[in-house]
Amino acid sequence: MTAFIFVLVALFAAAPVYAVDGKQLLEQVDRNLAPESYELYRKLINIEPDGKKKEFVLFTVKKGKDKIAGLFISPASEKGRSTLRLGENMWLYIPNVGKPIRITSLQSVIGGVFNNSDILQLDYSEEYNVAQVEDQGKEFLLHLKAKTKTVAYDQLKMWVDKDKVSPTKIECLTEASMLIKTLYFTDIKDFGRGIVRPASVETDSPLYKGYKSIMLFANFKKREVADEVFTLTFMPNIDSLR
């Protein structure tokens, strides 16, 4: 009888992970990070081992599950460049070149640790399935697996604060579980109108030893724009949305 109770207790202790609906949890994380449709400004700071910095400021507008566009507004050398993502399709528009060219999620239009998929991030639940949820006390650890081969990172390990249902750390891994980069979410901030989320995301990578990049968020608000904004023809005109 004692053994039976022990087994039951042991099973109960191991069971909380099954009590959590991973898909629902990930969708909640997505909604807490951002409304489905929004606009925001981001500052990306690349920091080299010697402390040298390079900053980029980007305006972003997203609609629904699979449409997101960005526009660089500084520095002057990048001003006017815009990026567009429609599901798995990504384009970069460079004013000099004058026409959008297709780019891939693993490329980086700015150099440094952040790549295009970080800049044109869709909802995590749109790109990943939850393979496993671990209860780690104050946090859940979500093991995420990419739904398709087109996603930049095959696996993610996402640590989620239980109270805020918001990520604190994400490790991005290849199919062979090699760590590509780690994202750290800090500085929870109330942006107004119900948007409360980390205002800073820092990243480092074993592939870029000593380098790190930081993404700061500002002017985050819900916004609905026309579907036609997310087209190649509109790319040179994204600034008119600001």
């Binding site: 390079k54 520095p75 429609l86 004058g98 700061l216 904004v229 997310f230 087209t231 023809t233």
Partner: protein
């Protein structure tokens, strides 16, 4: 000063000198405040050394009566200014290019309005532009046979801004759910009257062109045409699609009616030919796991010269040069110079070309450093140009590029007969 105080002072200095230790990063909203106007551009300095090929035919045409030695230098300085003014649905935009150059001919300057137009955006699915503008149709990187209403771009520098033409254009966009994700229609009206657009072709004509764009099953597709007017009528299409996340393919096809070419035969007799021709391009862009980007294109230039036609031109130069050396007139060389400027001397004048560009992002963990090598190969005569380059953009708004180009080929081949054997240039560009 006691030793301990000295250490403390050293630590304070080190702490102050280290910009990252404990640094708070801020994002001030004034940084993103939009002004109704914008002024920007870049300043460029480009010193270049040319190694002359004194035995080549195009050298003979240009330098037959002067001796510039084995090398010649050139200093190009460019100020490109752009500005915009926005009010409601209207935006005024202008981009002007000013050049001050020093070559073996001395100093020269040139200023031109690249673009200058009024844009009206009554809604997010519709806009109208009126003024000097570029369309930049096509998906090719080095060549765009379907760019019917633009100037020819230089495959050696395909990313440079081009001067536009005066035109009225509009865009109507519509998005859908389903396999056809979006669609846009861009009509263009390009008048060529008097001085306006007189370099587009025959004047006294109103040229009408249009482009239809579809994003269909994750494939970009464009259909376009230019009606008969200053230039002969032409029809085309292009496409671009990702086969894999890191592999993109693209292509262009243009059908050009009544394409005219001025050709010269072995006897030096100049004649004009006219026929319908097809130009097309197929290419891919591949990104490896090591972040090496490969761009490859094959281009068939239907309007280009055959190998025989180019050889006839070079033979004609030889005859002209021998005549000049024999103490007689330089009239034949002057005629060759005129033919060179009207067609034979342009970039990629023949029929079939391959283009390969390999660039490596940030090798050896050097951030913002991109070495690249570009190879343009003339399939018809096996001549080529090879251009290695080093690009560094680590200082905000400053771009440094060191580029060399070697031109090689047999006698009477396109690159073998260029006036230069090699070129080395440093480009320093500051954006503001």
């Amino acid at each position: 000063m006691p030793k301990r105080s000295l250490y403390n002072l050293l630590w304070i200095i080190l702490f102050l000198a280290s910009p990252c230790l404990g640094e708070e990063f801020t994002f001030d909203l004034t940084e993103v405040e939009k002004k109704p106007y914008h002024v920007g551009g870049y300043l460029e300095l480009r010193p270049t050394l040319f190694g002359l090929d004194r035995d080549s035919n195009l050298y003979k045409v240009r330098f037959y009566n002067q001796d510039e030695g084995k090398t010649t230098e050139q200093l190009v300085s460019i100020l490109q200014l752009e500005g915009s003014l926005e009010k409601g649905i209207a935006t005024l935009f202008a981009r002007a290019n000013f050049e001050l150059n020093h070559t073996y001919l001395g100093w020269s300057d040139q200023g031109s309005l690249f673009e200058g137009y009024l844009s009206l955006k009554p809604s997010q699915s519709m806009h109208f532009n009126l003024g000097k503008q570029t369309m930049k149709w096509g998906k090719g990187y080095a060549w765009n046979p379907v760019a019917f209403v633009d100037r020819l771009k230089n495959p050696d520098e395909p990313d440079l801004n081009l001067e536009g033409f005066f035109m009225a254009s509009a865009s109507f966009i519509k998005s859908f759910d389903g396999p056809l994700k979006n669609f846009s229609f861009t009509p263009v009206f390009l008048p060529a009257y008097g001085d306006m657009n007189d370099d587009f072709g025959e004047t006294g004509k109103l040229n009408v062109a249009a482009k239809l764009y579809f994003l269909y099953y994750d494939t970009d597709i464009d259909l376009m045409f230019l009606s008969e007017g200053s230039r002969s009528a032409r029809y085309g299409f292009d496409f671009s699609r990702n086969l894999l996340t890191n592999l993109e393919i693209h292509g262009e096809f243009a059908w050009i009616t009544d394409s005219k070419r001025i050709v010269i035969d072995e006897a030096g007799k100049v004649s004009q030919t006219e026929s319908d021709v097809a130009s097309f391009l197929i290419g891919f862009r591949y990104l490896s796991m090591q972040e090496t980007t490969y761009i490859f294109e094959y281009y068939h230039n239907g309007t280009g010269f055959t190998q025989d036609e180019v050889e006839n031109f070079f033979s004609f130069i030889n005859v002209g040069y021998d005549t000049y050396l024999a103490g007689r007139s330089d009239a034949l060389l002057k005629r060759a110079q005129s033919l060179s400027e009207s067609g034979y001397g342009r970039a990629n004048v023949m029929k079939d070309y391959l283009y390969l560009r390999i660039s490596q992002k940030e090798p050896f963990d050097i951030l913002y450093f991109t070495p690249a090598i570009t190879w343009i190969f003339n399939v018809d005569d096996q001549s080529f140009s090879l251009s290695p380059e080093l690009l560094y953009t680590g200082v905000t708004n400053l771009e440094l590029r060191l580029k060399g180009t070697v031109l090689a080929g047999q006698s009477f081949s396109e690159y073998g007969e260029k006036q230069n054997d090699y070129r080395i240039e440093l480009r320093v560009r500051y954006y503001f």
